[in-house]
């Protein structure tokens, strides 16, 4: 009984926090500034409420409903990463270009692994034979693995973005920093929970809720008011091309390298 009460309490808490975030953004008139992120939150809230209704009034359909949309829910989390990417590199076209190349490389690599895995996985062959017939048992079996894989990819994308932000010293405001930290906590803890799974015992079923709650609390703190990224200062003086800059930098690096060489081998 206490388990059910606790689960219900956590569930209603998360819904309240989501609604609070959406209300606060609408009230503060910055919902449109982060439209992709708030669309994600709105989807999660709507999904939770609809799931509650289905569970209450059509319990026999709940499993099919939940697992059918779970794949969509997991995938739609990429909206948060998209929003972060969009906001951080808006004013930095050079850094944006490098980020795009690295993120594309990660996605291509993932697709390659998926295709390779699909070719060698007998269960995919069985699925193909059944013409992708919606099979609840197969979905139930594969969903945690699918979610874990997606979370790992999300983590890789987020780490790449953070690494480039640090490398280019791009100033990040409180809102975006909160988005990164909150979603990073969520996917990190979720991936851990999926990997450790049954090893955690009865704690397992609460870890997912706790990780999402941690994300929501982080977002409530950092997204309570609109604090965008600082705008870059307007630079004075004539512009020059990147090729000239890169040539000069490479030249200086070579000078240092040869200086060290001469020091070691006079």
């Amino acid at each position: 009984m206490s388990d059910q009460v606790l689960t219900q309490a956590v569930w209603w808490c998360t819904n309240t926090l989501e609604a609070g975030l959406l209300y606060r953004a609408a009230r503060g008139r910055f919902l449109r500034r982060y439209i992709v992120f708030y669309s994600y939150l709105a989807y999660v809230l709507a999904y939770s409420l609809v799931a509650f209704c289905v569970y209450t009034f059509r319990t026999e359909s709940y499993s099919r409903f939940y697992w059918g949309l779970q794949y969509v829910s997991i995938t739609i989390g990429y909206c948060v990463i998209w929003e972060i990417y969009r906001q951080v590199f808006k004013a930095y076209p050079g850094a944006l270009r490098v980020t795009r190349v690295l993120l594309a490389a990660i996605l291509v690599f993932v697709i390659y692994l998926v295709v390779l895995n699909g070719i060698h996985d007998p269960r995919v062959t069985v699925l193909l034979h059944h013409n992708f017939h919606y099979d609840l048992a197969v979905l139930l079996n594969r969903a945690p693995v699918y979610e874990q894989s997606l979370r790992v990819v999300q983590a890789a994308l987020l780490v790449t973005i953070v690494a480039l932000v640090a490398y280019y010293s791009i100033p990040v405001g409180r809102n975006i920093r909160g988005m990164i930290l909150g979603y990073g906590l969520y996917i990190g803890l979720t991936a851990l929970q999926l990997a450790l799974g049954s090893s955690l015992g009865s704690i397992w079923k609460y870890t997912a809720s706790a990780s999402y709650m941690a994300a929501l609390i982080t977002w409530c703190v950092t997204l309570w008011s609109y604090q965008p990224n600082p705008a870059p200062a307007k630079s004075s003086g004539p512009e020059y091309d990147y090729q000239t800059l890169a040539t000069h930098t490479a030249k200086r690096m070579s000078q240092v390298r040869s200086s060290i060489s001469r020091t070691i081998r006079p």
Binding site: R177, A233, R257, T263
Partner: protein
Amino acid sequence: MNHLFVYFAAGGAFVGVLLFWALRAKSPALGSQETPESQLLDALEIRPQMMAHQIFDDRDWNFVREAAPTEERPLFLRDRKRVALIWLEEMRKQVAEVMWLHRQAARRATDLSATLELQIAANYFAFLFCWRAMQIGIHLRGPFGARLMMERLLGCSRRLWQESEQLLASLGMPRRVEVTVVEK
């Protein structure tokens, strides 16, 4: 059990990195101040080197070993080690300044070449790796003992540099930055 440990370590590291970054990154850092482009190219100059080759030249050490009293040898080694580390730190600061200015300008460049940028970044990290190895070598073995190790390391980094050039060429990406350094 091993894979659980790997997942746990990876997950913990991921969360740790995010927390470290979020708590460390405050509102506008030093890097956000824009440097006028007209000053940038002038600033990308390496300052004249002190007589760096003399720091690692073992002729001084040979002389001290032969001519100086025994009790003065550790003093000589300690002082020479300190000078070597100061020189190394100076090198790092110069390179860091060059790279900082480059990153400040490149992040807003509309005609940036991602390949070239990644190449410059790779070279910078290779330099940092060599620099750190050199620092550890000097700490452990002194400036004269570290020399042989550094020769091998430089040879290795040169091979890596050449291989990355070949790889880029094989991918059809010509090396657009031609650099010549006049050996004195």
